[in-house]
Amino acid sequence: MTPERWQQIKGILHLALQKQPEERSAYVDLVCQTDPSLQREVKSLLGSAPGAAEDFLKSAPLNRAWLAKGDRLGAYEIITLLGLGGMGEVYRAHDPRLGRDVAVKVLPRAEMNEQNRLHRFEQEARAAAALNHPNILAIYDIGTTEHGGPYVVSELLEGCTVRQRLELGPLPAQEAIAHAIQCCRGLAAAHDKGIIHRDLKPENLFITRDGVVKILDFGLAKLIRPLPDASTLQNATEPGIVLGTVGYMSPEQVRGESGDPRSDIFAFGAILYELLTGKRAFTGKTSADVIGAILNQEPSGLALSKQNVPAFLKIVLQRCLQKDPAARFSSARELLSEMERVTVSHLRAKPLLSKWLVAFAAVLLVSAGVWKFRVIRDSISAKFDSRNIDSIAVLPLENLSGDSSQEYFADGMTESLITDLAKIGVPRVISRTSVMQYKGTHKSVPEIANELGVTGIVEGSIVRSGDHVRVTAQLIFGPRDQHVWADSYDRNLRDVLNIENEVSQSIAEAIRLKLSDEEKAHLAASRPVDPEAHDAYLKGRFFWSQRSESDLKKAIASFQQAIAKDPNYPPAYAGLADTYFYLGYAWGKMPPTEAMPLARAAAQKAIELDPNSAEGHTSLATVDLSYDWNFPGAEQEFKRAIALNANYEWAHHAYSALLIAAGRPEEAIAEGRKAVEVDPLSVPARNILALELLDAGRLDESIQLDLKTLEIDPNPTHLAMIHGRLQDTYQRKGMPREAFEEHIKTLQAFGVDSKGIDEQRKIYAERGWRGITESDLNSELHEWEKEHWHFIAFMIAQSYARLGDRDQAFIWLDKCIDLRSTMMYLIDSDPRGAFATLRSDPRFAGIKRKMGMSS
């Protein structure tokens, strides 16, 4: 087909569609006589129109039922159509069983075609029907039409909607208040039962002939959204149909949240405003403009002044219309009591009022007035302010390069941002291990913010191709999922450090953090770095964070590569130090005598290149502690590191280990808590805190924490550590059965098969804990034969000590010293309680002397 041909076809189609359906075929035959292929084409296109509604634009959007007089709907006999609303048709019908007339609202079918929705509709309708209140429309019955559209039967009202009343202009204040209070009473009754309206508007408020206000359509808004279509959009009384009745929606609702009772309060405020002024609270030419007004504008105060709206009412209004739900009345009940109080004071100003009412009002004012005012003012000023962002989590930047080998680059950039933000003094920045858990997550921003206890979330993405990199970043006020700042950067790879700094600085500005000149200089002084070196460094940090021995070896290679490219690049040395440390600690089997000197040398180099490197000082401290057993030296380095960057989890973490070992349990707990605070989801941080609680004898707290950590879904190694500690804790609590079950779980986490587990159960049944310890010792000795790993030597010493074999225990501890075991710094505090039987032995002091520790 050619474009010209298509134009021709369209023309004929258009004309054909204007004919009656039955005339179309003949019409096409007539105009296409000379061109059979054109005729076929047009007919085939017309044939694709569904039979029932040939012309889409004229078809009703909502499959209306269009019932006629005499039609039956269940037990009900239709009398006449009363009106059409966004939600369907309303009929007057007769219920012959009770001999009364009722109102029947038939809801659109298209929206309700799913079983579960129908089910939900019934639930909601049932809940609404339970609301027996004079200010809420009474629901009698529900059912389904033969077309599948649900219908609701309710009391029949005579009068007009508030919308219709408003067409006559604003209401006198007293009348407006009277209506508003009735509406409030209905709302309060519903909110008390946990039912939210979600679509309160003048169309949904009815004033009966007797002046009773009834709220209509409770619970239906959630189920049925008006749909965008030509016919509804042309309805001038309903701007913004696309997102529902935008004008009365709360800011949180226009943002797509489902809303809570406070959303109804907002809508109530908008309606009250309109009742008093005759003008909409939020206006705009289009739905988008109305949304903008709801989110950003205050309703005009001029209109209120023009109508002489009393000041008390203005304050109530203002509080209802707060953008932040937390600043509004928390419930309709609270609003109602405030409204009633306002009424009294308003009436008091009227000369006609009786004396007792004046007295009554005065009492109320004296008792409640003063502090109420303060509450109101405080909550108004507690509006959202970007300065409220005092803690930030940087979510893993998304790698949009479509190349998973670039993953480390995005992760590395995430980490650099975390470091930068911490350095420039954001009070709390969540560290890498916690945020990495959200990689590829399915959680929403408010959920994440809540879990991490932060107010700010940074999100972004990276696209890298060759030497070119594009970074997009945005800062979101987490609790409200609201933008604070966003930007994108297109750069050469060489400038990548600058991008990181710019992003950090922009975020600092966005949250109005005052950067000292020194901090600015610190950020700006980023020396140009060889992109390849940076690249290799990021790769190294990625492998390092994986912690398996093979990944750690890859990390070493990457850091060395970075150093080869740029021998004066401090972070690469710190990374190298940390990797050697891990390899010599328990994550790898490198002998400490090899790993630790390398770790120390690298840490010292990092510090030499950048004396302010918190990472460098921490690395050095860990070596001092676990390898040299030099407690004072290590403590000094830890303190230095924390002073340089209080958001560095690893510094708090390792320092708290020192404090346990030094027998300062409460300080250890405090430091461990800081580690968890900057890294709430880090299993290692939580592990060390649990150990500290156990050490301090706070057994129940320790158990609580471990059980919570299990919910984070730790990896098998961590799982084994947690169950192992629970075993120790239950032992100390004198609960051997529970301890044994934890022992079994520890073995399972290590991958012991069911045969092995059965054996353990058998041993325990026959010989109790002693049997288990003997069996542990056997396998440890077996391991030792295979490989002389310092960690196993330490375990063997513990097992002998538990079995009461002091001679062997000391022999093995001595061996640990010779191996320079990185576990030995824990000898004195012994949080697992293995060495208790050794303490009184003079050889114990000898061990400590040999280690260079004072007793």
């Binding site: 694709s48 959009l233 705009g284 949304i291 950003n296 933008h483 297109d490 500005e509 966005a510």
Partner: protein, 193 residues
């Protein structure tokens, strides 16, 4: 692009774009794209298992987010929706294609868009087929393709579409009607093929 962190950045870019600065569009697209992806992802996270991507809701939500950080009187709305519709189409179609690829042999991906589209008769639109058909339609009539994109993927009303493209509402509805007939037939053809 400069690293300015002005909160009015998006509207400035739109302004510049409207004034003929084509670089502005290049700078704008990643911001809008990131936002749409974010919103879409948020929905995918929250939504029910057989998630219905309501493109109109997504675009509007993205607009609300971006609009809320700038002036509420956003005159460049139409331009925003122009960009957003194109990006939304990419996101949705990519999503459909990826899902299809993941479930190879499970047939083409069906995503129920009827809520967003308000075409009750088109219960579930095969997005990939739709995208292909739309591509062909755009070759026959570029403006008609744009109309479908705006109506379909950004959920714009007839009026908003007319504003965005600077043509009368009557023209929009005429073109929209015939475009839908054409698309419906093409999709039906492909489905039976």
């Amino acid at each position: 692009m400069s690293a300015s962190s002005s909160p009015h950045q998006v509207s400035e870019l739109l302004m510049r774009w409207r004034e003929g600065d084509s670089n502005a569009l290049d700078s704008l697209i990643p911001v809008v794209y990131a936002e749409l992806r974010r919103v879409a992802r948020g929905h995918l996270r929250r939504e029910r298992p057989h998630h219905t991507l309501q493109s109109a809701a997504l675009v509007h939500e993205a607009y609300v987010r971006l609009a809320s950080q700038t002036s509420p009187q956003w005159e460049n709305r139409a331009h925003f929706f122009g960009v957003a519709a194109r990006l939304m189409r990419e996101i949705l179609v990519d999503h459909a294609r990826n899902r299809g690829a993941a479930k190879r042999g499970a047939g083409t991906t069906q995503i129920a868009l009827n809520e967003a589209l308000n075409i009750p008769q088109l219960k579930s639109v095969d997005l990939i087929l739709l995208d292909d058909a739309l591509l062909r339609l755009s070759k026959l009539d570029e403006r008609q393709g744009r109309i479908v994109e705006l109506r379909f993927f950004a959920g714009l009303s007839i009026e908003d579409t007319s504003e965005a493209l600077g043509i009368s509402p009557a023209t929009v509805s005429r073109e929209w009607t015939t475009a839908r007939l054409w698309l419906r037939r093409e999709i039906a053809k492909a489905n039976t093929a």
